[in-house]
Symmetry: C2
Subunit: 207 residues, 2 copies
């Protein structure tokens, strides 16, 4: 994916191919948000006017770079996430033993497949929190980009959450389901902060 | 932009270069949403099971392809949108006449520059409405992608709206301001529909 041109990636996304799909799009939106946080940091760091925020901005930049790399990697992983489940569905089911082994393989495949959108949700929540961290210290000329970062990450978060939910519906083990749902819930808390960032920026722009 | 690789585009976005920035990211998010609508249509069209929705899906596919091309073009235009304003700021202002000519040039540049994010907002709203149109007839296997499309387009819409608002703040002609604000408002109506699509899909997934 990373070596594909923007035009070709969009064409592949639009096609009837199984990947890339909504999962990769969510990863891409998270990466876009992280990249915008980096941009805001890069346009703030080193300017004497914003010297008092220098340390926060430098730390945020390092974190944003890490999150962008992770989001892009997860967007690429998404295509493979379901291959384990698909392979498990193809296992033999002639005997009772085979049936049990197949069901177990499908179930562990589903739990594994849920890990990718769960990780996208987590990265997206981190991008939102990072946007909140740089909101006050950012160069005012690029304040709107802080909001665009939070908005793009919020879209990634809610999209990834849907993909986790789809998997949860097929997982039978209540404990596994509970663990995944609780991890997702923690990330989903960041949605409220994304809204607050959007509103704070809009307010300052209209002021 | 369209011939840049995903990785390089994200790196450029993250850099201190003036473009691409939040405006291009908004255009990209709108294009991603449109591409996902195309994908859902492509995975629904031609399947006997969904024959009753065939006509709606074919029409939606054609519209989604058009919107994707337009969103990508607007993402590319965004970089140039401000060049007119920047050139106007560099005009001479030694005499009263020069000052008046410069102010007029800045003002018309700002009004022109607002047209790109306004068009991104309009395209994003159209992607949201199109997601709503295909919601009932889409292949249930890719129902979540309809929601991801709406979510990505909603992020594009609210991001573009911020960029229009920034320009509105500098435009002095009340009539121009009123015309831009009213056009933006019409597009912003689609935000509520995007939320409704997300909720409808989440409800069906959890059912």
């Amino acid at each position: 994916m990373r070596k594909t041109t923007i035009e070709d990636w969009l064409t592949d996304l639009a096609s009837e191919l199984p990947a890339p799909g909504g999962g990769a799009a969510a990863g891409m939106n998270a990466a876009t948000g992280a990249a915008l946080v980096s941009m805001v940091c890069n346009l703030t760091i080193g300017k004497p006017k914003f010297a008092e925020h220098e340390a926060v901005m430098r730390e945020a930049l390092a974190e944003a770079e890490r999150l962008r790399a992770e989001a892009l990697r997860l967007a690429e992983d998404d295509a493979e996430a379901f291959s384990g489940v698909m392979a498990a569905y193809k296992l033999p089911k002639a005997t009772a033993e085979e049936k049990a082994a197949r069901t177990a393989a499908i179930q562990s495949g589903l739990a594994e497949a849920a890990e990718v959108p769960l990780a996208v949700a987590k990265v997206s929540a981190q991008v939102i929190r990072l946007s909140g961290k740089i909101l006050d210290g950012s160069n005012p000329n690029v304040l709107s980009d802080v909001a665009v970062a939070a908005s793009s990450a919020k879209s990634a978060l809610e999209s990834a959450a849907l993909n986790v939910d789809i998997n949860l519906g097929s997982i039978k083990d209540a404990e596994v389901r509970e663990r995944l749902a609780s991890a997702l819930n923690e990330s989903l808390q960041a949605k409220v902060q994304a809204e607050a960032i959007m509103q704070a920026v809009a307010k300052r722009i209209r002021a």
